[in-house]
């Protein structure tokens, strides 16, 4: 009897690893997320966090990925690069996540780009600055359209309108600095002359003095403002208040209806390039993005009772790219997933249609944008 017991015990010990392995295959796949849910960049982070949470729940309700659930671990960086770094370390070393989506801002992403690359951690950033994927880092991807594409759209629209002399405003943060650099570099080849360029504090509450300076600069035909902070609304209001009546172009950072709401009547006529999510109702039914955009908009707005923004869309795309990568690789193995993502083609997302390659870690082409304007307080496609 005793001997039998010992044999049983030994057998059961032998069986343990097999059981453990099976349990591992059933364990959820951990995906980290770093979003600026609070703080000055919460316009980006809050909808991103809501979207990612919603999408993860949907995926799990539909049976998960490869039969495993997704466990989304969200960290709120408050928009601070320092916090983003420590959260990234935590996600890499303690949580050992498969991939990180986010951070929300370009400044934060640039702080952890190197860290992720060194630790071979897959990073799908939701921030826009070109420098995130240029030069290409093996493990770093991003979902929003590139700065340079936004600038190209703005310059093309200017040419149609016969504008060639402009003033540039930007916020002093990662997004503003990167955008300003792009504009200044691309202006000359495009035949655009930048007469003035000013940067302002990202917590600015009034910008009439900077705009007065622009008003005093002879020959300015349009103002380009490049920021993601609430100052976007302040610029629009202050321009009207001091009577600076030239067209205002904003970056793709304007894609949250709150900004237009805050600027009220002053936002009317503002031009900015953005993805099609904001104008989904205007799209033709056979547009490849129509179904996905309409479904996302409906789910988000009915669940959270607030307008959908392009930023939430960036998180949608990021999480979807990771799960599509896992499906394509047929394994929750980081390197295999990375290779799979690099080979994704024709993937329909909220920002556009992704075609990744080893050289292009954004995967979006120029036609992911549309030039939008504010008309009667709503976003609309700007007609030529």
């Amino acid at each position: 009897m005793k001997r039998l017991l010992v044999v049983l015990l030994v057998l059961s010990l032998l069986a343990l690893p097999a059981v453990a392995q099976k349990a591992d295959a059933k364990k959820p796949i951990k995906i980290g997320a770093i979003f600026a849910v609070t703080g000055p960049a919460s316009f980006l982070g809050a909808p991103e966090e809501k979207t990612a949470t919603m999408l993860a729940e949907q995926i799990n309700a539909d049976g998960g990925v490869l039969g495993r659930k997704i466990e989304l671990i969200v960290k709120d960086s408050g928009g601070s690069p320092e916090k983003a770094v420590s959260f990234a370390k935590q996600l890499i070393e303690e949580e050992k996540v498969l991939a990180i989506i986010g951070p929300s801002t370009s400044g934060e992403t640039m702080q952890i780009k190197q860290l992720c690359e060194e630790n071979k951690m897959l990073l799908i950033s939701c921030a826009a600055a070109e420098v995130i994927v240029n030069p290409v880092a093996k493990y770093v991807f991003k979902t929003p359209q590139k700065d340079s594409q936004a600038v190209t759209w703005i310059f093309n629209t200017m040419k149609e309108k016969g504008i060639s002399k402009i003033a540039v405003l930007s916020s002093m943060d990662g997004f503003g600095d990167a955008g300003k650099k792009q504009i200044l570099e691309m202006a000359k080849p495009a035949g655009i002359e930048v007469l003035a360029s000013e940067a302002y504090d990202k917590q600015s509450t009034d910008l009439t003095d900077v705009l007065t300076k622009i008003k005093g600069t002879a020959g300015v035909q349009a103002v380009v403002n490049w920021s993601i902070v609430p100052a976007q609304s302040i610029v629009a209001k202050n321009m009207k208040q001091i009577g600076l009546n030239v067209p205002l172009f904003q970056s793709h950072g304007f894609g949250n209806r709150k900004y237009a709401e805050q600027a009220g009547a002053a936002a009317e006529g503002t031009l900015f390039p953005a993805g099609r999510l904001l104008v989904v109702d205007e799209l033709a039914d056979n547009h490849p993005q129509k179904a996905l955009l309409a479904a996302y908009k409906k789910n988000y707005e009915s669940r959270y009772k607030e307008d959908v923004s392009t930023f939430g869309g960036h998180a949608y795309d990021a999480l979807m790219i990771v799960t599509e990568g896992i499906k394509k690789a047929n394994a929750a193995d980081r390197d295999k997933v990375r290779d799979a993502i690099e080979g994704l083609k024709g993937l329909v997302g909220t920002a556009g249609i992704y075609n990744f390659s080893p050289e292009d870690h954004t995967g979006l082409s120029l036609d992911a944008f549309e030039m939008l304007t504010v008309k009667d307080g709503k976003f609309a496609i700007s007609k030529k």
Binding site: A46, T205, T208, K237, I242, K258
Partner: protein, 297 residues
């Protein structure tokens, strides 16, 4: 646009900013006058005033919403004083200042949870986002006049209160010599509560009038408090009128620095001036080096 009207436009822009700093600085000054404490949660009172007014504005007319917000924040100010300062065993200035810093962080977090991270604003009191008043070729938003008007009315009322009413004089007595004030039968604790309430009310009022210009969100308090503090120091602590001059001066200097330097150096100019002031005239423009308006911190 001629040089003159451009000059005027910079001046108006400076006055816009300066009036915002001034209205925050007055609140700083009031608590300082009564207790010798620099209340670093002053910016949070401004934020709370704006937030509550915006919330109430959804179902109340604007003037009622603003008045209600001011009352609610004033009561909150009194309550905070009673909860955190009244029972304090050692009323050293340093203790109290550190408590105000802690309070400012707590209030921010509470506001974040009560509301959310979004930016909101009150409607313009008169006109709209696009309306402006033209003055000799320069333009200014009508809301700036509201802010300036509020500052003027508040300063006059406050001056009258501190000079001519028993309560006001008692408050000043607490400031210049707490022991003597206590011996003459003034309840120092009550005076402190009153000064917190009043200063919270002023902050809330400020938060309402500036909301259409600066917009209101849970994090707006700290940067405002820093600029308001600078304005109060520059003008000289202990004198509400001086805060107004200090605030306007900082605003105007910032605006004109933009005309010559890149806008990025805005804060540098303002704070360089403040440092210079602290070296040359530590008691501020209108403070006296000795006497009631300056206390050792």
């Amino acid at each position: 646009m001629g040089d003159d009207s451009l000059f005027l436009q910079y001046l108006l822009s400076g006055i816009t900013k300066g009036s915002i700093y001034a209205v925050v600085a007055i609140g700083f000054n009031l608590i300082y006058s009564a207790t010798g404490v620099l209340n670093f949660a002053q910016g949070e009172f401004v934020m709370l005033g704006g937030m509550i007014a915006v919330t109430l504005c959804a179902f109340l007319p604007l003037p009622v919403a603003v008045a209600a917000a001011v009352v609610i924040v004033a009561l909150t100010g009194c309550l905070l004083e009673i909860l955190f300062f009244r029972k304090l065993r050692h009323h050293t200035i340093m203790h109290m200042i550190i408590i105000t810093i802690g309070l400012s962080i707590v209030i921010q977090e509470v506001a974040l949870h009560l509301w959310d991270e979004k930016v909101r604003s009150l409607p313009y009191f008169s006109g709209s986002e696009v309306s402006s008043i033209r003055i000799f070729g320069a333009s200014v938003s009508p809301q700036v006049l509201w802010v300036l008007g509020t500052v003027a009315v508040v300063v006059v009322l406050l001056h009258a209160f501190l000079r001519y009413t028993l309560q006001g004089r008692a408050m000043r007595a607490c400031s210049s010599n707490p022991d003597a004030a206590m011996l003459s039968g003034i309840n120092i604790s009550n005076m402190r509560t009153l000064s917190f309430g009043l200063s919270a009310a002023l902050g809330a009022l400020a938060g309402c009038v500036i909301s259409p210009i600066t917009m209101t969100h849970y994090e707006m308090g700290a940067p405002l408090a820093i600029k308001g503090f600078a304005a109060a120091i520059l003008g000289g602590l202990g004198n509400p009128m001086a805060s107004v001059v200090g605030g306007l001066l900082i605003g105007v200097i910032e605006a004109f620095s933009v005309s010559k330097l890149p806008a990025a150096y805005n804060d540098v100019t303002a704070f360089a001036l403040l440092l210079l002031m602290l070296f040359v005239r530590p008691h501020g423009l209108f403070g006296s080096p000795s006497g009631e308006s300056v206390r050792e911190v």
